[in-house]
């Protein structure tokens, strides 16, 4: 859409869009070479025990429907291409959450002959969730941290506004929150 409205109206529309994006992050999950430990934790986060649907998160099969790509594992040479393709199939605005030590740096596989390293070697990552594997609470916390980053100035809008992409230091974003424990 290239319709430019007056400033206040544009502002209101942006606010509404941001509100909707914050409250309906549809996720897709891709394992680019993980040992399945993190995947089990992600599935645990989707169970009725944690029930992420109350935050609006639902798991979707198609990259075309998804807003958040949740990646686990180091990127192997074989899956690098697929990871990139899944990322490119997602419509803007899209976000990436890297889950687990391997997704951050390559973890125990970092020197492997078949291993490129962390997710960030292939696609841009918004939030890193460390842990081997991270607990479901940590993954949900990572998604919440991601949603806090979504605001109208930073969303890469196609309407010609500048993409502000100063990188936040999200390493070690897993602080236990005493309020929710």
């Amino acid at each position: 859409m290239s319709v430019q409205l007056d400033k206040p109206w544009q502002r209101i529309l942006d606010e509404v869009a941001t509100w909707a994006r914050k409250n309906s992050p549809w996720a897709i999950h891709y394992n680019s070479g993980s040992c399945n430990g993190c995947d089990i934790e992600i599935l645990a986060a989707l169970t009725p025990r944690y029930d992420v649907e109350r935050l609006g998160v639902t798991l979707h099969g198609s990259p075309r429907h998804a807003d958040v790509l949740i990646c686990t594992g180091p990127v192997t040479r074989q899956s690098a291409d697929r990871l990139r393709r899944i990322y490119e199939q997602m419509p803007e605005p899209k976000f990436v959450v890297a889950v687990g030590s391997c997704a951050l740096t390559g973890g125990v596989f970092h020197d492997g002959y078949n291993c490129l390293g962390g997710i960030e070697k292939v696609i841009p990552v918004d939030v890193f969730v460390p842990g081997c594997p991270p607990r479901p609470e940590a993954i949900i916390d990572g998604v919440v941290k991601l949603l806090q980053k979504v605001d109208p100035d930073r969303t890469p809008a196609r309407a010609g506004s500048e993409i502000v992409s100063e990188k936040e230091d999200t390493h070690g974003s897993y602080d236990r929150n005493p309020a929710t424990d």
Partner: protein, 312 residues
């Protein structure tokens, strides 16, 4: 009817905004009941609204290998079908705006537009998952459509009219649920099939074929299909409530009866697991159609023994 009133009817009351918001609210109620039955909290009250808004403001991708015109038009048709059907229905407990002899048939066909658009949308894209989804959607259409239609014709025959408004008036005096219980059950299950709710969600089975016919749709197209489905949920509930549950003569009756039906539909979803597509077809043609016909036969015999009202 003058122009302003017609515009209001199309954009605001029976059809248009009212129906969309009604659909969004009912979708939330459905999800919430389902979640509570699965022992979870469930989505917040504005969840479907946020989902649709987000999809509307997302990037629109037209994948390679599709007919772009069709790709963009089909979601609009999918929403326009139910919105048009709403004009012939007692949505909100108000008398249908438009009415003519035989509008029941037209309405049932208008309600099928969504399914046909879904099937065409899947067949239009090059993705094999959408193609499989489209095949299943259309196969399922052919299996539930006849029993669903037969179940709706039961009350029509009892009322001696093919006009929704007249059947609604007739049903207000006769509780057809007690006279035609089988038709009621088939109509409810047929509605679940129409909306591709479990156990008839093989066309969009996430674990097998990604998202079925909707696989290549993201953004606005998906939002319109989504809205079309919520609108169809409301219309289906209205139709069944007005035919079988003693008519919807007032807004209060409308609310109570459709919500009661929705409760049943949500329970049905929580209870059942997905059927294979061949099981779906077998279920409808072997049992569904047959028992509706048996019920018709029973009605005829009962009516004849009383001195015949239907054919006289």
């Amino acid at each position: 009817m003058n122009t302003i009133l017609s515009l209001g009817a199309i954009l605001l009351f029976p059809s248009g905004l009212f129906l969309l918001f009604n659909g969004i609210v009912y979708e939330w109620i459905d999800k919430k009941i389902l979640a509570r039955q699965q022992n979870r909290m469930g989505p917040r009250w504005f969840q479907p609204l946020a989902d649709v808004t987000k999809l509307m403001v997302k990037e629109e991708i037209v994948p390679a290998g599709v007919n772009a015109t069709l790709f963009n038009l089909l979601p609009i048709f999918a929403l326009a079908g139910p919105l048009t059907a709403a004009l012939y229905m007692p949505v909100g407990g108000i008398r249908p705006l438009l009415s003519f002899k035989g509008d029941l048939i037209v309405t049932v066909y208008l309600l099928s537009v969504l399914t046909i658009a879904t099937g065409l949308a899947g067949a239009n894209t090059a993705s094999r998952f959408s193609l499989l989804g489209a095949t299943r959607t259309l196969t399922q259409l052919f299996s539930y459509e006849a029993p669903f239609m037969l179940a709706l014709l039961g009350p029509a025959i009892a009322a001696g009219s093919w006009q929704i408004a007249e059947i609604n008036d007739y049903a207000g005096n006769h509780l057809l649920l007690l006279r035609e219980p089988i038709g009621f059950v088939i109509a409810i299950i047929g509605l679940a099939g129409k909306l591709e709710l479990p156990p008839f969600d093989a066309p969009e089975a996430e674990t097998e074929i990604v998202a079925g016919a909707m696989t290549e749709y993201g953004g606005r197209g998906l939002a319109l299909f989504h809205l079309g489905r919520s609108a169809e949920l409301v219309l289906g509930l209205t139709l069944i409530a007005s035919f079988y549950l003693g008519g919807v003569a007032s807004p209060l009756a409308y609310l109570l009866k459709t919500l009661a039906l929705l409760l049943g539909l949500a329970g049905f979803q929580a209870l059942m697991t997905r059927l294979r597509i061949d099981q779906t077809v077998g279920l409808w043609w072997r049992y569904g159609s047959l028992i509706v016909l048996v019920q018709w036969l029973a009605l005829f015999v009962l009516d004849m023994s009383r001195g015949g009202g239907i054919f006289s």
